[in-house]
């Protein structure tokens, strides 16, 4: 049985009159892989997993991309273990079910050797034609998932182009409709897709977005995604935050392994407790930055500022306490928790990169230079070497400490997209 633990990092001492309490809570799941799954043929029960692969079959995929995507889908089918319900979707301006074949009566089938070889045959018949309307792909995936009674549902979505066959409001609406129904990892191949579009999907659907620069790398990425999905033994986990009467939760943000603001995904458990969905968990550690504003109390007072809890279904399986102690000892109150400082910097780094690239795309070079300069500074301060090397492909660094840079001319679009998609990836704080 999977077990969760929560560890709180904070400086609980507040100066007289201070109201804002910050803490980083590290949540660790162990034993997720030992959770028993139903693997007996078609009767995959509520503990089972359903996996859908949606591949872009629009006209732009014609050629290497299409062949690589077909190969990748076949590799994914190889990775899906027997007993797992699965389906393959081909998407253009409309979505169609490639497997099970459109005339099959069941929405999805349990994997077994016969289904595997038949699915690969179906995949090999996919051909590129038409436009791109991703909302139709999400709609079909949602319909298929809705028809199967399993707890954990995962979609892998691959595209190579812009969502050009429908207004963006249409896609936004569809994302809102399917949010909470399944999780989605989105992948873009080449440099003609739009990072923001896929990030919108993956963020709402509790997944990741990534760039696959070369078509031949798709297969390996798909295999990894399927393995990762299968390792998630706990289907649906909520982060719960209790805050005292009269307080205000300023934000709840996942800060590791990626920055993901959960604040807007709040649902109410009771008047004092909010729940934030975090999707399925494998054996892993995720860290959350929680900020709560409480009414100030007299020096010497202690106050519980938040209970940060892990809830699997209705059961709270782990809890961390965020405290506030008002003190007039400035040696206690002046210290900032290294974890809070580190992840505050990493979150700012992510937005500096995204805002800097957006400004650059809009032709606002002054803003882009300032933002990306700040990003270089933050990446160095927080020890994010990956971000530093990606930034150096876009800017010439004049002074790291002061964050002064010049924008490079004729940079590769792929380098910008790689920087953008990876902007939310954080490094963990180094603990002594």
């Amino acid at each position: 049985m999977a077990e969760f633990s929560a560890e709180v990092f904070q400086n609980e001492f507040l100066s007289d009159g201070a109201t804002d309490v910050h803490a980083v809570v590290a949540v660790t799941c162990t034993g997720a892989g030992t959770t028993q799954r139903a693997v007996a043929g078609a009767d995959a029960g509520a503990d089972g997993v359903a996996e859908i692969v949606a591949v872009d079959t629009s006209g732009s995929m014609q050629g290497r991309n299409m062949e690589a995507a077909k190969h990748a889908a076949a590799v994914a089918v190889d990775q899906i273990p027997d007993g797992t319900l699965f389906a393959i979707i081909g998407g253009s301006h409309v979505a169609s079910r490639i497997f099970p074949y459109p005339n099959a009566r069941v929405p999805m089938v349990a994997m077994e050797p016969g289904a595997r070889s038949e699915a690969k045959r179906a995949i090999s018949t996919m051909a590129a034609a038409g436009g791109t309307a991703i909302s139709s792909w999400l709609r079909l995936a949602d319909d298929l998932f809705a028809a199967v009674p399993v707890a954990q549902k995962h979609l892998i979505l691959l595209t190579d182009g812009k969502n050009e066959s429908e207004p963006s409001a249409h896609l936004n609406q569809m994302i809102a409709e399917v949010t909470g129904h399944f999780q989605c990892d989105a992948r873009g191949v080449g440099d003609r897709w739009v990072v923001d579009e896929l990030r919108k999907i993956s963020t709402a659907l509790l997944g990741t977005v990534d760039l696959i620069a070369r078509p031949e790398d798709i297969a390996e990425d798909f295999a990894a995604l399927v393995r990762k999905s299968m390792a998630r033994g706990v289907a649906s986990v909520d982060l719960r935050v209790w805050a005292p009467q009269g307080s205000q939760v300023l934000f709840v943000r996942q800060v590791a392994p990626e920055v993901d603001d959960l604040t807007g995904r709040r649902t109410e458990v009771n008047a004092l407790t909010s729940a934030y969905p975090t999707g399925a968990w494998a054996d892993e550690t995720r860290e959350y930055h929680v900020a709560v504003r409480v009414p100030s109390k007299p020096v010497g007072s202690e106050q519980l500022a938040a209970r940060v809890q892990v809830a699997v279904g209705a059961d709270v399986t782990a809890s961390g306490l965020v405290k506030a102690k008002w003190s007039d000892d400035s040696t206690l109150t002046a210290r900032i928790s290294p974890e809070v400082a580190h992840y505050t910097g990493q979150a700012e780094l992510a937005s500096a990169i995204q805002e800097g690239l957006a400004a650059k795309a809009a032709g606002d070079e002054a803003t882009a230079t300032v933002k990306l300069g700040r990003a270089v500074q933050l990446a160095a301060e927080t020890g994010n070497d990956d971000a530093t090397s990606r930034l150096r492909k876009i800017v010439e660094v004049e002074n790291v400490e002061e964050g002064t840079v010049r924008l490079k001319r004729n940079t590769a679009k792929l380098d910008e997209m790689a920087l953008d998609t990876a902007s939310t990836k954080t490094t963990r704080v180094r603990r002594a």
Partner: protein, 369 residues
């Protein structure tokens, strides 16, 4: 009236009358200060105060209530509603030995420990209220103050109507009897502090002569329409009649009081840095341990308040204290009123431990002379 006026203290050796503050018998020279013969040898009435907070040690944490908002204390030790830490039994306790007598003893906000202590007893028209305020410069004063308050209460109960040495007779005779009892109680309290100090020295190996635990002492007795107060230090007894002048029965043994006596305005004396230096206390290094006493015969109903400086620091004057108590006494219930006074003092900053014990002295009680 003070203890010096009493002629009831007797030498345990020869029976010669002695003033309670006398150190030695004038007839035979027997030391009187530590003579336990002056205290009753047995206590027959076991006071059973209602402890309103359930003991955390019994595991009954589900019923623990938050001192700040009245919510439930969660298993993690904090209030489920407002997040205030749940308090230990020693940090916050309440007693309600009768529906007209109750008290609340609380750690306050700024102090890490509750060195105040309180022990109450009541039955029929009799009540004994004892408050001791541990001197925070000395370690383990919380243990000493609790032992002292309970020892003193037990002595006072023994002199009560159900006790082995009941004070009886006409009012003037009972004033003398209770003055004698009050001195016996303060001596027993002092003995308890010494005992606690010795026990701590034995178990922890501390040299108590360096910094011995010590505490103040204040007690009030209600006995058939008579109110007697006794004290050492700056914890106080107020008599707050429903009609007529509110008065502070006790007179602080403090630097501030000496300054007031010398003509310095009260507000100025009480806000000076040394205001809280007390000139008399209980403890191994105390020069004398006999309570000074005062008595009054209320002419009508009113509130009797016994409190530590954690409360009166925010409201020293008797008239202001009267207004404050009446602000919270709407229900007529001493328990809710004492709790409200403690909450109020915490809201003022809670810079010290806070104890407020109240008796509602009613016409039916006072008429039974």
């Amino acid at each position: 009236m003070s203890a010096d006026d009493s002629s009831l203290a007797r030498c345990p050796n020869c029976g010669e009358n002695a003033a309670p503050r006398a150190r030695f018998c004038e007839n035979c020279g027997t030391p009187l200060g530590s003579a336990e013969g002056t205290a009753p040898s047995e206590v027959t009435l076991e006071p059973a105060p209602t402890v309103v907070d359930p003991d955390p040690a019994t595991g009954d944490s589900s019923a623990r209530r938050c001192g700040a908002c009245g919510g439930t204390i969660a298993p993690d030790g904090y209030c489920a509603d407002c997040g205030t830490p749940g308090q230990s039994e020693r940090d916050h306790f309440e007693e309600r030995p009768a529906d007209w007598v109750a008290g609340v003893c609380d750690r306050g906000v700024r102090h890490a420990r509750n060195e105040d202590a309180m022990a109450l007893a009541a039955g029929g028209t009799f009540a004994a209220l004892v408050v001791c305020d541990g001197v925070s410069s000395a370690p383990d004063s919380d243990i000493a103050s609790l032992a002292a308050s309970r020892a003193a209460r037990d002595v006072l109960v023994a002199y009560g109507p159900e006790g082995s040495s009941s004070v009886e007779g006409a009012t003037s005779r009972r004033v003398a009897g209770w003055t004698y009892a009050m001195v016996a109680a303060s001596r027993a309290a002092s003995q308890a502090v010494r005992g606690a100090a010795e026990q701590l020295a034995a178990t922890k190996g501390k040299d108590v002569t360096d910094d011995p635990p010590s505490c103040t002492f204040v007690a009030a007795v209600v006995d058939q329409g008579l109110v007697v107060a006794g004290w050492l230090g700056d914890s106080r007894v107020y008599w707050l009649p429903d009609s007529g002048q509110a008065e502070q029965l006790s007179v602080d043994d403090s630097w501030a009081q000496e300054m007031i006596a010398a003509g310095v305005p009260r507000a100025q004396a009480e806000t000076s840095p040394q205001a809280h230096a007390i000139t008399r206390w209980l403890g191994p290094d105390a020069p004398d341990t006999d309570a000074r006493c005062a008595a009054t015969v209320p002419s009508g109903p009113g509130w009797l308040l016994v409190c530590s400086d954690g409360l009166w620091n925010y409201c020293s004057d008797a008239h202001e204290m009267n207004d404050l108590v009446r602000r919270f006494a709407g229900s007529g219930d001493p328990h809710t009123t004492a709790a409200a006074l403690v909450r109020w003092a915490n809201a003022q900053g809670g810079r010290d431990n806070i104890t407020a014990a109240l008796a509602r002295v009613s016409p039916t009680v006072t008429e039974q002379r």
